[in-house]
Amino acid sequence: MYSYIIMLSTRDPASEIVPAPGSQAFAAGVLKEPSPPPPGAPLRERLHRLLWPLVVLLGLVGLGVLGARNVTANLAAAGMEIDFSFLWQQAGFDVSESLITYSPRDTYAYVLLVGILNTLTAAAVTLVLASVIGLVVGIAMTSSNWLVRNLARLYVELLRNLPKLLIVIALYVALVRGLPHIKAAWTGPFGAMLSNRGLALPSPMIGHGGLWLALAACLWLVGWVFWARAVKRHQDATGQRRPVALPVLVAGLALYAGLTMSGLVEIGWSMPKLTGFNVSGGIGLSLQFAALVLALSVYHGGQIGAIVEGGILATSRGQHEAALALGLSRLRTMRLIVLPQALRVITPPLGNQYSNLLKNTSIALAIGYSDLLSVVSTSVNQTFRPIELMTLVALFFLIANLLISAGVNWCNHVFRIRGR
């Protein structure tokens, strides 16, 4: 009440002195005010509404102009101007890893592309892993089992309160120190090698008959779709459900076995081998990549878990009970009844999480994974073109975020409640 009185009285220039709190001053304040508002806003207020935004906007524009002038002056003093042509010069530095062949002789534009691809790879793998962890944790949080429920809650609460950089660095340091030197790498089944350089796995190499393999894969997918449709039709007609997963898996294995054994397709395996201080052959997963992806998956898994829990709790309990009463198993109840409804609640915050996840890959810089920002940081140090490079970074993330929100909108549209 006190502040209310002050506000009322200070508006009137005649009572600049703040009155003591009390009903008299309040009454006086009210009396001096024109209590009913006149039809339409008073002229002073209308002026205010027009003037203030104008002043603020003019101020902002002024600041912008001043900043731009300073930038050009500062750059001119260094004999530079804003110019993107440096992108076609040779970059001259190496990256930790690259999906496309890269050498230091390539251009800055190309190294930025390498960084973007690395960022996207890390984000994509993290997205899948974090979603799986989040789904499991979210379901566990709503479990009827006391131990499981509280363990999941502990996990979420713990990760909510720890910085992601700490998790990434702690994991990376622990991996580097805990894993053996490359000379004493652990070898696992199928020739997998684990050392403090990373994980190396055998990779398939198609000798010949790639076309046949692709054809068979297409055939298999088409067969899958047809079989799933036939099962659905049969279920609609008779109420009986035939298996889908098992026959499809068996058919796939049979196709693969038939093709390789008949000699139409030859698949060899490239095995990782130790040559000097490096591993050659196979496909490698660097330790930086593994630490980044694992740490971010664990971190975002906790947050997604909380979102999934909220979605499940938002689904009415009656739905769950009705499904159980109809004789659906717990797993099917979750998969067919609860999760599809929870998905509608989950989608918007989940989209937010995915956007955060993409942005958070930029902490890769701390452990030396060559994502977009770490490539840009090296480039800035070499060329001193921060404005051009940061503009490109901002552009990339703006576009990526627009795409993510477009995806979320599309999902909202697909998952909406239909025909009610």
Binding site: L57, L147, N161, K359, P386, F397
Partner: protein, 365 residues
């Protein structure tokens, strides 16, 4: 049930009944089906093995704080002596040894100010004064150059005082800015609202690391020629601008939840638009926005650790310095656990405080 309760002795339920209740609880919460029993068994096994190993490592086989390096080298468990040995380095980093008390005093001033900000009944103006006074005194203590204190360059402000300085004052400045941005977005003034939307969405789309880089590389270019800005100040400015967008988004949620009748009623009482905003709109909108704002405060506090990436030595990088010492190289886990505990306790305190605030707000209604 009533008859049972009536016949029960005054001294409380008999032991057998308590046992029955306990058994029933166990049955329904841990062993309700074969699947749940299996799950309980597996999880229990995992938890017990983990806890046993952790206890062995952290307590049984560990060297206590009072131990020595030789004992640590011989022990198979944790080396807590490492934390005692390196406490000064982790907390204050490269701050010059004889002046270290200033770093601790500045930290104490800031912690006291944060507690007072959260707890003391001093109103908005009082809090503004508090922020200003504590900010200036912490700055002067860290920087020196007054009252005969030798000057300490800002790149040597490391560890705890740095993290407190950056997170506390960037948030203190970002929150009002965020409220202004949210109001601008909400105001219905097309130009202002467009600017606010553009600003908020653009900042929220860009990763914080990129924003920190912009602070280090681009902000100095924006100043007039010859003017220089210290990295700490540049980071403080960009953190403020960055966090403001997130606070604005939280406050917007509160503003949207505000029934239109509230502003209309206030207008019909003759309140000017500034009065409506200050007395009617903001108190309600901010109260609704408490959960979101709490999340943003916790997130901002945690994310301030990212300044390590642009070369500011926060707690994470001073800890890294500590276990980079070849003599103590093996004890990174101990250091990281200690930092984790620090963050966990701080964030937990923040959410606890916010929970109280939420309850108080409900009661005050």
């Amino acid at each position: 049930m009533t008859t049972l309760a009536e016949t029960a002795p005054v001294a409380g339920p008999p032991r057998s009944r308590r046992l029955v209740t306990a058994a029933r609880w166990l049955r329904s919460n841990l062993f309700s089906s074969w699947w749940n029993t299996l799950l309980t068994g597996l999880v229990l096994y995992g938890v017990v093995t983990f806890v046993a190993k952790a206890l062995n490592w952290g307590v049984v086989d560990a060297v206590p704080f009072s131990g020595s390096r030789a004992e640590c080298a011989a022990a198979s468990g944790a080396c807590w002596a490492f934390l005692r040995e390196k406490a000064n380095l982790v907390l204050t980093g490269t701050y010059p040894e004889p002046e270290r008390w200033r770093a601790y005093l500045a930290s104490a001033v800031m912690i006291a100010a944060i507690l007072a900000f959260a707890k003391a009944p001093i109103g908005v103006a009082g809090r503004a004064v508090l922020v200003l006074v504590s900010g200036v005194s912490a700055y002067l203590l860290l920087r020196g150059g007054v009252a005969g204190l030798p000057v300490v360059e800002s790149h040597r402000w490391n560890g705890l005082p740095l993290i407190l300085f950056l997170s506390a004052f960037s948030m203190a400045a970002a929150f009002p800015l965020g409220v202004v941005l949210a109001l601008a977005r909400w105001s219905g003034q097309r130009g202002l609202s467009l600017f606010a939307v553009g600003y908020i969405e653009a900042v929220r789309a860009i990763p914080m690391v990129a924003v920190l880089f912009a602070g280090i590389f681009i902000l100095p270019l924006l100043l007039s020629r010859g003017a220089a800005i210290e990295p700490v100040a540049a980071i403080l400015i960009v953190l403020t601008l960055f966090y403001a967008a997130y606070f604005a988004e939280d406050v917007r949620g509160g503003l949207q939840a505000l029934p239109k009748g509230q502003t209309e009623a206030a207008a019909s009482l003759g309140l000017s638009s500034a009065q409506r905003t200050r007395l009617i709109v903001l108190p309600q909108a901010l109260r609704t926005a408490i959960p979101g704002i709490t999340n943003s405060i916790i997130g901002s506090f945690k994310d301030t650790s990212l300044v390590a990436i642009v070369g500011m030595h926060d707690l994470l990088s001073t800890a890294r310095m500590a276990y980079a010492d070849p003599q103590w190289q093996a004890y990174s886990l101990e250091a990281n656990l200690a930092i984790g505990l620090f963050y966990f306790i701080c964030c937990w305190l923040i959410s606890e405080r916010a929970r109280r605030l939420g309850h108080g707000a409900v009661k005050a209604r």
